[in-house]
Amino acid sequence: MNSKTKLIYGILVCIALLMPFQDFIYLVFAMKVLCFALFACAFNLLLGFTGLLSFGHAAFFGTSAYITAYFCKEVGLSPEFGIALGVLGSAALGLLIGSLAIRRQGIYFAMVTLALSQMVYFLAVQLPFTGGEDGIQGVPRGMLLGFIDLKDDVSMYYFVLAVFLIGFALILRTVHSPFGQVLKAIRENEPRAISLGYDVDRFKLISFVISAALAGLAGSLKTLVFQLATLTDVHWHMSGEVVLMTLLGGMGTILGPVVGAGIVVGLQNYLANIGSWSTIATGFIFVICVLAFRRGVVGEIAHFFKSKT
């Protein structure tokens, strides 16, 4: 990482830390953005850095959301354990879905993940503990580590921020690690990577599970922020949304998904008042992005500076 990027990260973290001291951006909105940013980053690890397009990531997001909601509400676990169980659940699901899906490539991979996540959706509709289409509502945020009351939005915010930063740092590290280097090689030329002695499936599976676990982490956080888990979280629209966030921000860039999440969540929020026009406007934004800013926001900016130097 060069000093310039370090500077950018520093500034961003400062802004994030100062967020509660302003009135312009609503804090819960900021939390939502952070949750989805983490989700999109986790997804990007798979798409941007492993070359696997999963069209079923909502399954992980939603499963973990439900698990956390269930254990925090019905069992009364404290939030840290609720989250831990959620992440474990989504990682386990990731292992299961991943080991089936990585046997296939490209568009087929996308479709297998879609199919399997539709089954998860089906389960979410049918299983009794998920509360059907009402979902699990009124999940208590609880006391973090027994003494930090998360009911307060400010402490909740800092908790979400901390978790996000940890998740983000993990992804950043993974991408640049020796492991990440091999992932990149696999994405570029799989047979060659095999002939160099790399057990390609193991790599794909590990990155799939990491991605699933982090997506789950995002889902659990979201559950605590909004205090609910619903079918929206496991619906294929959610899987689609995370693809959009990633592409909009710039896939294969580190900050892209964060920016993309901000844009999509922001659009949903601020276009909400104009009814059907919001759908139309969203549509136009995608069309324009694809036709004119294909690298995504962050990708375009990076490209601009690169071509200038």
Binding site: D23, F29, Q137, I274
Partner: protein, 384 residues
Amino acid sequence: QASKTSGDVIKIGVLTDLSSTYSDLAGPGAVIAAKMAIADFSKDGTVLGKKIELLSADHQNKADIAANKAREWYDKDGVDVIVELVSTNVALAVMEVAEQKNKITLVSGAASLPITNEKCTANNVHWTYDTYALSNGTGKAVVKQGKKNWYFITADYAFGAALEKDATNVVTANGGKVLGTSKHPFPNSDFSSYLLKAQASGADVVALANAGQDTINSVKQASEFGINKKQTVVPLLMFISDVHSLGLNAAQGMYLTEGFYWDKDDKTRAFSKRFILQHKRMPTSVQAGVYSSVLAYLTAVQKAGTDDTQAVMKALKSTNIDDGLFKGKIRADGKFEHDMYLLEVKKPSDSKSPWDYYNVRAVIPAAEATQPLSLSRCKLVTNK
């Protein structure tokens, strides 16, 4: 971050489905209804000398979006009351937030009984209708006509199940029998398989425990398969907007229950004529409910002399409501108890003018259309 007091304005938020499945029965029309209520309440748009402000937003039928918006409204914008809230999961999510923030919700569009039952809150009123009223109204009337054998086509989610359960209770209590049920995924477009099963079951009544598009398509296809000729198709939840888009040809002869019909009397007609000028469509019962709830809220604020939540709720629950559209009382569990109407869809030949769709067959008195308090599982009632 301390929630701000509402300051010098009274803010009313219409949180509704502006763009998806339920936008015709609630949606922009609900916003218009709320505006009309404010205008009717005071010429200069004030209460207690404070300005009344209206906000609206689209919740897209997603609980998380709704909860997010509700929080933001209550925390940041100082909204005092949120109205409409079609779709049960949305209503429950927002009620939860409102309870935490000690603010008010007035639910009009959502249908599930649990809203004033096991999920009830002290700051909520369920205004227009619920699954109990629907199934009691239509169910009882149809069984009493001697159509005792029922077959259900039910949307496979909590609302559908609740509706089916309530209706089943009514049917069996009145000596009828349920022959079978087909659960269909939500949403669904082709119902022919279920309809054929219903047909094969030989039931007198094919009851539709679903809503919106699903109901419309079920009715339409039932008439295509000629099912409505031999069996009675009963949509348990249907609005005038649905009948309008179905057309009388397919819808004729069906019984349904609503809390409001524009052509019921002079007062409803007067309101509706004004409404259609602005919205190009007649009001649905949900939209009428929004009008009524906003008007009642403002009246209660006036009466309480403050916008303090507890005071306003107290005023609301202690006033008899009669605004020309709805007439009744709000009970302790938050249910607005009022009469419902059993309606029959007219034959095309009987329809004299646009939107002339129903004959009012019976008035279901409030007591019958509402679950008795003795059966309630609402914490506000059981604790007493």
